[in-house]
Amino acid sequence: MANIIDVPKTRINCSMLSQHINRPVCFVGRVEKVHPTGKTFTLSDGEGKTATVELNEPLEEELSGVVEVVGMVSNKGVIMASFYNMLREDKGNLFDIQLYNEALKLIHDFPQHYPFEGAASG
């Protein structure tokens, strides 16, 4: 999974999960519930739908707010995370997830203008 960093990852939301099975994706969502084991949690996207994320190791910190997860989509539609990124909202930067969703839809509506499989130089 180490080379997932070098590979172009499509940004998706929940409705696009099924089309990206076994592909590397980048999912941004708001933390809903964290499993007590800390190895899995759910995120809600800009449309209000929920996706499940699974980690290799349990979480070592408190997860809250908006998180960006990079990983592969499993057959069951679960995101197997390679790494994640918490967006700090405390500095007054409010992340507008609905706006993000709007932009996401546009990216997918116009693939000719937003190519994902771009020159993936090593």
């Binding site: 409010l94 507008d96 706006l99 709007e102 932009a103 546009l106 509506d109 116009f110 000719q112 203008h113």
Partner: protein, 673 residues
Amino acid sequence: MAVRLTEGAVEALMKGTPLSNTVLQLLNTKKIGNEMTRIRVIMSDGVHSSASFLLASHLNHLFDGNQLEPYCVCLVKKVSISTLKDGRPVISIVDIEVLKSADEVEDKIGNPVSYNSNGLSSSQEGADSSTPPLKSEVELGNTFSPKSNKTSPQKHLSSTPPSTSSEHRKFNFKSNNKTPSPQKPFPSGSSTSTGRPGPYSRESTPSPSKGRGRGFTGKSPMKSADASPGSATKVIPISALNPYQTKWTIRARVTNKSKERTWSNSKGEGKLFSFEIVDESGEIKITAFNNEVDKFFSLVEPGKVYYISKATLKVANKQFNTLKHEYEMTLHTHSSIVPCDDGDGVPDVHCDFVPISELEQREKDTILDVIGVCKSAEDVSRITTKSSREVSKRAINLMDSSGKVVTATLWGEEAEKFDGSGNPVVAIKGARLSDFGGRSLSALFSSTILVNPDIPEAFRLRVWFDGEGHAVDSQSLTEARSVGSGARMNWKTLSDVKTEHMGHGEKADYFSCVATLVYIRKENCLYRACPSSNCNKKVLDQHNGLWRCEKCDRDYPDFQYRLLLSANLADFGDNQWVTCFQETAEVLLGHSAQRLGQLRDTDEEAFNEVFQKASFKTHIFKNRVKLETYNDETRVKVTVLEVLPVDYIEYSRRLIRNIHKMSPQLDLSEEQG
């Protein structure tokens, strides 16, 4: 060719029900009228056919363009039914669309029998159905009264009161044979008139006298339906009002009434007032001028229901009329407004509320309706307008169940009497959306402000607010610190400066852009300036500890460091050299000129670091661009007037909006390859 006709439609229409969107087959057409062409059509629903259909004159082009050939199947989208004095209907087709052309259909669908308006169906000729029914229909139809026509488009369309039958006489069907009784079954093929055009010839004397012009009724239809509503005419919905129908009555509630206003222009002067009415089907604006103002101003009260009939309909002037109705009404001498006691069922107000969260997606300057709980209201303040008028204004904050808040500005009396205590539910109908401070609303002269209105939406909000709403952390669409002081931001990209030849005109051009600072000239960014306030002239070193200012014509013991920055901005398309004066330079560098002057003289490394840090930062730049000549060289000079941080959410929204706006063009260019 299987296409389903709306069976039963002809019967329903003939009985007076103004059905919309019926699928009917056109059996035949006939051009009638001499000076004013009208097209009469025989329509069938497969069960019945009728020649009581008339094409509204604005659709004549369909006939002229041969689109209405016999047997074509049409979608009769909208009709307007009026009744002759003898009770027979005239169905005026106001909107029609050909679904299948005559070539595609080829044949008559079903076996329609001619529907007689008194319910009797009579048999028709068999095979060759075109000619004979038309002739017999001719006899039925020749009692047409011209009331459905106001469309002498040559002159009288606007506000001439239709009671002057000068219009009506243009539209006169008088039969040469005596009025046959409608009871008579259609004699097959026997037409007592010589040929077809006969019955529709105009009456010889187009005299303006009210009675004669009508033909058979002997009375002006205007006189028939008197002030007593419901006697001859039945109530029609507001949505069915159109200029092609003169005999109607509506029952509606007044929602909005303006004050009496006078005007005086080159064409003359007078007074007017207007009001808006609503019923279950929609709303429409009514205006009264001069005499009618005196007659109706005190009678019309907002909130009350009235029967209104006899007024002029014309196309709505969207400049002053923000309602959705295609037409608007003007009262005239014969207009009748009678209070109605039974206002049940007539809604109080017709609003299409836009959720506050959606306001960001809407274009500025659109007129819309909003409803929300007044979370807070400022005190009323008085301001003086450009025209030196003093007016009261009050800003109130409205929040709805989306949790978003928007600031609405009330003016004048509304502002003064508004009471925000108790967090009332406020509905504003016809407010203007502005991009002041992001998104905000302004009540217009024509807006209606309703406090705690009696509508379900208001109750829903009340329940929500009392329950959880009052504790919600709201997000305001209207920033307290408005970006750009409310001025319209003219957003451009740097390449636009060259492609649009900005600054080449006589006056300077102003624009805003999002750009990144890619280079800042460190050398000569500071100069020594005159210390007196407001004089920024460079001072000359007298070498005796004094500094001379030419402008003030004085020597000073010290100076002030001031910034004059030359920088290069870039975006995805282009780059641009700009000049930043003191204020904007300080914002970009993050330090005062004084401090920078100090650093330059003392700590060069720290001085350089300031410039390092400032580079490659993105900001919103508000600029002024002008062509200037200096020593024989003419160049476009850009000066930065203001530097603002990029509000990414606002920027993102703007980009998304622009993409949406451009997307139809994008789709097209894709199709073309």
